[in-house]
């Protein structure tokens, strides 16, 4: 196997070995959201036409799980390696910064997809869903999880302790995912909050992902994919520059 292939394999094996914590746990938490919110909110929040609230909610929750778990994977893997010191095992071999970047981000994508698929599969037992445009679903899943995997990598590179990762997660990732239209259509918001939501890149990912199911969305999915892809490219360029310099990894 190539160096890149091995690092990817190691990253996959890492979360697979603690699958209760990295897969089963997040799936269960997300299903609890589904159970509670669909019960409380049914008929309360106006969504798209005839789409029932619980059906509206499922894609949002699936995408939220994809994004949060993609972030958690790269960020917690790297910070653990840095704190325990075993990051040197990947700094000593001849891995390039591209290998490093691609392996961590791809493993995050896989973790996001696995958790998202788990949530979706279980939800199908309770909720009827249509799959109008599967390719849009796939495109937003891959792009969104790659964006969050990259953000997780940035957080892992920058942080020196678990506390800082937790801050990144609580003060940036959680608010942005919760306020991205997972639980509501932004058209139900006052104008000011609608406008503000448009500055949240996660909103485009969730909205576009949902379009893949219902063929209806708050904004044009092509625009959403363009915004998400632009985010990915900018973050990737930034992360590659950090890795090339060895920022906080090679002193």
């Amino acid at each position: 196997m190539s160096g890149f292939g091995t690092l990817l394999y190691k990253e996959l094996l890492r979360f697979w070995k603690v699958a209760f914590q990295t897969i089963a746990g997040p799936v269960l938490t997300t299903l609890l959201y589904l159970l509670i919110f669909s019960h409380v909110m049914q008929g309360q929040a106006p969504v798209y036409g005839a789409v029932p609230y619980s059906a509206f909610l499922v894609p949002g929750l699936v995408m939220m799980a994809v994004l949060q778990n993609a972030f958690a994977n790269s960020s917690s893997s790297l910070i653990q390696s840095k704190i325990t010191g075993n990051v040197i095992f990947i700094l000593l071999p001849p891995l390039s910064y591209w290998d490093f970047f691609a392996a961590y981000v791809l493993a995050s994508v896989v973790r996001g997809v696995v958790v998202g698929a788990g949530v979706l599969l279980v939800s199908l037992g309770f909720v009827d869903l249509s799959f109008e445009h599967p390719l849009w679903i796939l495109a937003f899943t891959l792009c969104g999880s790659a964006v969050l995997g990259t953000l997780g990598l940035i957080a892992g590179i920058w942080s020196e302790k678990f506390d800082q990762i937790a801050a990144f997660q609580s003060f940036i990732i959680m608010p942005l995912t919760f306020l991205s239209g997972v639980f509501y259509s932004i058209h139900s918001l006052p104008q000011f909050w609608q406008d503000l939501s448009r500055f949240n890149p996660f909103f485009y990912m969730i909205d576009g992902f949902r379009f893949g199911f219902f063929g209806a969305s708050d904004i044009n999915p092509a625009l959403g994919l363009a915004v998400s892809t632009a985010c990915l490219l900018m973050l990737a360029a930034f992360t590659l520059a950090l890795l090339k310099r060895g920022y906080k990894l090679r002193h």
């Binding site: 070995k17 840095k82 325990t84 010191g85 075993n86 040197i88 000593l92 071999p93 001849p94 891995l95």
Partner: protein, 323 residues
């Protein structure tokens, strides 16, 4: 002409206010067993980290088997195996998984036979499928050695591999490393056990505050000492006044006196005899590396400005994180 195994030219490195390395020049020939000695904060680990690409030098060049550690990092890292000072491990994996993964990072395929052989030599076969967390400190240390060897590097650097390791493992480890050296591997070793360095290393560099303060073959270093010691146990009288200036240690009627040469033995014994004391026991102490080390480090102390020394000894524990 084969390039030196390690070539270090004018390497400088500063961490904040502390100049960790100030112009290091060193060359290690292929097949050498080389020792890198110095007190804590001398810059040994910083230098090793620069060889390994874990730290980047501010200026200067470093080559492993002729490959620049920055420009040709892939080649230089393939040529180098590093056993780190700290006992690090990945708690997710077993010993075999750890070694397989490490081997994969170097792009090696079908490396199972060599991994088995390394595990066998390091007595790890019985623990191959045990999780890293369950291993004792000594076992974890052996896995670190095995990890450094999975890609059969021609140059192997061991950064204090025997710190906190029991006698049996230490001896086993040295036997193994000696074997690697006999097979042609270049070995660079740092240790605080100077008797180990003396027994193993053919050539030694001593570092102090980021400078090479001594560089010579081990035998030259040991012989360059300009004094030896005589240990006397006397009774019947106290040590004569004339000998007090020579005392290095004294306890319970036992005196260790410094001599400049063997010629001084007779006059010293004459002084003792004239004082009326009786010699109960006498031992000549041969110089060893530890004496040389202490002497060289003290000499360096005298040479520097006191201010600078105080500043760096205050700063170094804070400013030399090992990671």
């Amino acid at each position: 002409m084969t390039p030196p195994a390690i070539q270090i030219q004018q390497v400088h490195k500063r961490f904040g206010a502390v100049q960790a390395l100030c112009g290091i020049d060193l060359e290690v020939a292929p097949g050498e067993f080389f020792g890198l000695l110095g007190p804590n904060g001398a810059g040994k680990t910083t230098l090793i980290n620069i060889l390994a690409g874990l730290t980047r030098a501010d200026s200067g060049n470093v080559r492993i088997m002729g490959h620049d550690v920055i420009a040709d990092y892939r080649e230089s890292r393939r040529a180098l195996g590093v056993v780190p000072q700290e006992l690090v491990f990945d708690p997710f994996f077993s010993v075999r998984e750890t070694l397989r993964i490490q081997s994969g990072y170097f792009g090696l395929k079908h490396n199972g036979a060599w991994i088995d052989e390394v595990m066998h030599h390091l007595d790890l076969t019985g623990k191959a499928d045990a999780n890293m967390r369950s291993l004792s400190g000594g076992m974890k240390r052996r896995v670190l050695v095995a990890q450094a060897l999975v890609h059969k590097p021609p140059v192997i650097v061991l950064d204090e591999p025997t710190a906190g390791v029991d006698v049996e493992l230490r001896q086993g480890l040295w036997e193994f490393v000696r074997g690697l050296n006999r097979d042609g591997h270049t070995i660079v070793l740092t240790t605080h056990y100077l008797d180990e360095a003396e027994a193993l290393c053919a050539r030694i560099a001593m570092l102090k505050l980021g400078r090479v303060v001594a560089l010579d073959t081990t035998s030259n270093l040991v012989n360059r000492r300009d004094s030896l010691y005589i240990k006397l146990r006397i009774s019947g009288a106290t040590l004569p006044e004339a000998l007090v200036g020579r005392v290095r240690d004294r306890h319970a009627g036992e005196h260790t006196l410094r001599l400049r040469s063997y010629a001084e033995i007779e006059p010293v014994l004459a002084h003792v005899r004239e004082s009326g004391a009786q010699i109960d026991e006498l031992e000549l102490l041969q110089p060893d590396l530890e004496d040389v080390f202490v002497q060289i480090m003290n000499m360096e102390k005298g040479r520097e400005g006191t201010e600078e020394r105080r500043a760096s000894s205050l700063l170094s524990p804070l400013a030399f994180p090992n990671r």
